[in-house]
Every structure is written in C-alpha cells, then in structure tokens.
Symmetry: C2
Subunit: 235 residues, 2 copies
DNA sequence: CCACTTATGTAGCTGTCGCTACAGATGTAG
DNA sequence: CTACATCTGTAGCGACAGCTACATAAGTGG
C-alpha cells in the first residue's frame, strides 16, 4: 500500500487529513478540475479525453463498487484511458475519488438550490426526501448514494476516504441547518425547535435511504419512508 | 480474486447468492459454529483457540475496516491464529464474515427481545433508537454498525457481501414489522397506519444513525436524532 | 527549423492480496 | 502399540493491486 517511491519525489502522499481542501498540490500541471470551463490555453500536447466525461464514468465505478472495490484497471477501462493518463490528470486513485466527489456534490447542489427554495421547513424536507428516493433508485446510475456506498470503513492506507465522504455529506447537513435557522426566524419553525437537530435527523434519514437503496429497496418503498419521515416536522 | 483451485476441490465457491443459508458445505469437519456449546467429543487434534473469542476479534476488524479493507493478515493477527487455522475453521474470508455476522446478529437479538417488549410502538422505537445511539458510540467497539460499515458496495468477486449484510439488516426490520402489526391489532397504532412502512422507516433511521456514527457523530447528537425520529410516531 | 512542455501507450515494476502444501503435533479408536 | 483424523506453524504459491519508466506523439514559443 505504501506508495513505493523509488528514488525521491514530491511527497503527494502527505496524508492530507484536512478534508475541506482541494485536490493535492499540483503535480504535472494542475490536478484537472472537472469544472468544464474551456481550458484557457496551455503548452505541451493537449489532453485527448474529456475530463468531465471521464469523471462521470469513474464516479459510476466508485458508486457501484466502492472505493476499495474499484480497481485502477476497471476505472481506466470505464474512462477510456490508460493508467498514465489517469495519474497525470488526478495524481492518484484517491485524487480521482476526490475529483469525482466534487463533481457529485456539484450536481447535487444544483438540485438543492430549488429544494431549499421551498416555502416551509417541512416542505423542504418532503421535497428533498422524495427527490432522493427517486434519484437513488434511478436505473441510470447505481442504486444508493455514492457518499454512503463509497466506503464508510476502509483498510489501512485509505483511512481518509471515509472522512472525505463524511465531509461531503456534511455539506448537505450544513445547508439544511442554515435553512432551518432561517425557518425559525421566519416563524415557520417553533421557537423551541432545534435546527441543528432537525438537519442532523434529515441527514440520517437521507443516509438511511441510501443504505436501503443499496440493499435493493424500490422507489415506492423509499417514498413511503420519506412520507413517514416528514411527519417528524408536524410536531 | 478467482479462488485459484489448483487440482480439484469441493466447490465452496458456488456463488451462494441465497442469503438465508448457513455457512457453506462442510469442508474439513464442520464450519465452526460460534454458538459456544461445548463441542461434544471429536476425533483428531482438538482446536487450540476459542472460536467465539476469535470471532469477536474478527468482528471488530471487519467493523473497523470493512470487508474489503480487512486483510487476512490483520484478521489472523487479531484472532491470534495463523491462516491455516482460519481456513480450516471458516473456509474462507467470506465464511469468516458470515460467522461474525451471525454472532453479531445473535448479540443484537438479545437486546431486541426486551426492546420489543415495550408496551407501545412508539416506545419500541424510542428504546431502540436510544439504545442504538449508545451502542454505536460505545468506545468499546468501532463507531457505527457492522451491518452498514461492513460494505454496501464491493468489488467483483465479493458481490454477495452487500447482500449478506442487507439480509441481516432485514432481520431487524422484520421483527419491527411483526411488532407493529401486533400494535395495530392491539389498537396501539391507528387502523390506517402502515406497519411495513413504519418498520422500513425505522430501519432507515437505524442505518442513518450508523452512518452518522461512522462519520464521528457523538452520542448526544445521535440521541437528538432519535428524539426527532420518534416524533413520526406521534401523528 | 529547434527547444521545450505535456499527454499517450506499452510494458512492467514492487508489494501485498487471499489462500494453501506440507510436515509435525496432538487427539481418539482399535 | 498402530492406524487414523484433525489442528497448527512455516513458508510460500500465483494473481493482481496501485503505480511508473520510457519512448513517442503532439502541441507552444522562439
């Protein structure tokens, strides 16, 4: 597992436990950021594959097999590239996961915007859970949620993966907490309610739905779960 | 990954997708069942390690690192035995996991008995969630729940692991559904309530708590989640 | 044209994975 | 005692994991 550095090398193995950061220090040019903006103008041979398309494929592999279950061979196969291209663009398997997670969260945040626009806290919860019930049983992609199925517990040498996933999950919880704080200020939620607890509760239900979906639950079953879950907002 | 059978051998690699079953066909004598009953009397050299103690150690390793993240070396190290002893007793890494899961479920069912004895459905839910909030943050064992952290998505060659875990999770859901059906018959739950949906909802919250715990949530935070979650039973 | 920079494909490296052959140890059955 | 059956430790098997050296291709800037 030890990165087997032969001579010496820029230590991009520096155990960056700090999770909020972007991908590691630039090695090569810059760790390809899959934000889709046309690359300004660069020197050297241009990249021949579309980073975002490749990330979508990698995301699917991680999603279906988890971080440790996804092999470089399978990833490169799905991405349509060879290992050196992967390592030049993303630095490492972990770097690739981080990039895929960023892209995953980005897509997720697009949905979140309109969900958070719902007029009441209860309606935010309802829209969110129903939306996720649909997304996590969409035959278009693997069942469940990448942020849960990616790996809650990993072997030695991949200890930060679970942290990475947890950090991305926390984003949603943060957004919900902020929204519920606002809801309380607006009188939508009772004064004695606890926005943080509500957000954490929803975060748990979201994760739970992801687990059920991974286990093969149907869309209708998850929708029922959502219906029951929002009752907690009715007092 | 392919089990690399050299000559020929009893095909205990038979992809036993049927999840309800016991460990594979007997190879050697019998796949050690960790039920603790004194082994009646047997021939050959007696086993020198305590199967249940060893299973407890293996359980902890799977719990902390997941199925794929747990290596044979780490497992045998924790169990205090060498690989041949492991394989003689449990057949394979997957067989060991199954045995550990059975032991996990067994312990869990002991708790469940008194929880299901609670007088009302709501109280069942409350006791259960609070109990799990405590268990999953018990510093005695890894955070979270083995049935969730063990692996929701695995690589090729370990496809049945997630099914295995899901089957064990379903046990709890089944128990809850039965209990809630009884609750409705007793008038404790409304006639128009859906015991299956309530059980599935609770199952989701349980899994969600496991995910939060894996991510480092504190006991108090999980207890708050439990408090919010049971409100869904208040109508 | 020539330097320089970066991406690509082939081939292969080292470490570790799950697992096992084998010989010796330790029990029961007769 | 001799057979037989099973467990245990040492040592190591083949397969594959993540990753990279190297030569070549394909761009930029002068």
């Amino acid at each position: 597992m030890k990165p087997l550095v032969r001579k010496e090398q820029v230590p991009h193995t520096a155990q960056s436990r700090d999770i909020g950061r972007d991908a590691g220090q630039d090695l090569g040019r810059d760790i390809a950021r899959g934000t889709g903006q046309a690359r300004p103008i660069t020197m050297g041979r241009p990249r021949e594959f579309d980073v975002d398309k490749a990330l979508d494929e990698a995301m699917e592999v991680f999603w279906r097999h988890g971080y440790e279950g996804a092999t470089i061979a399978e990833l490169t196969g799905a991405m349509g590239i060879n290992p050196p291209s992967l390592y030049a663009a993303f630095g490492s398997k972990e770097g690739l996961l981080k990039a895929a997670l960023d892209r995953y969260s980005q897509k997720r945040n697009e949905c979140m915007a309109e969900i958070l626009d719902a007029p009441t806290a209860r309606e935010v919860a309802e829209r969110l859970l129903l939306k996720l019930a649909d997304l996590q049983t969409d035959p278009q992609n693997p069942p469940g949620c990448l942020l849960v199925a990616g790996g809650l517990a990993c072997g030695v040498g991949s200890e930060n993966i679970p942290f990475e996933l947890a950090a991305h999950r926390a984003q949603t919880e943060d957004q919900l907490r902020e929204r519920f704080i606002r809801a309380r200020e607006e009188g939508d939620l009772a004064d004695d309610s606890d926005p943080a607890a509500l957000a954490r509760y929803l975060s748990a239900v979201i994760a739970g739905i992801g687990v059920l979906a991974s286990g093969g639950a149907t869309r209708e079953q998850l929708r029922e779960v959502a219906s029951v879950a929002v009752k907690a907002f009715d007092e």
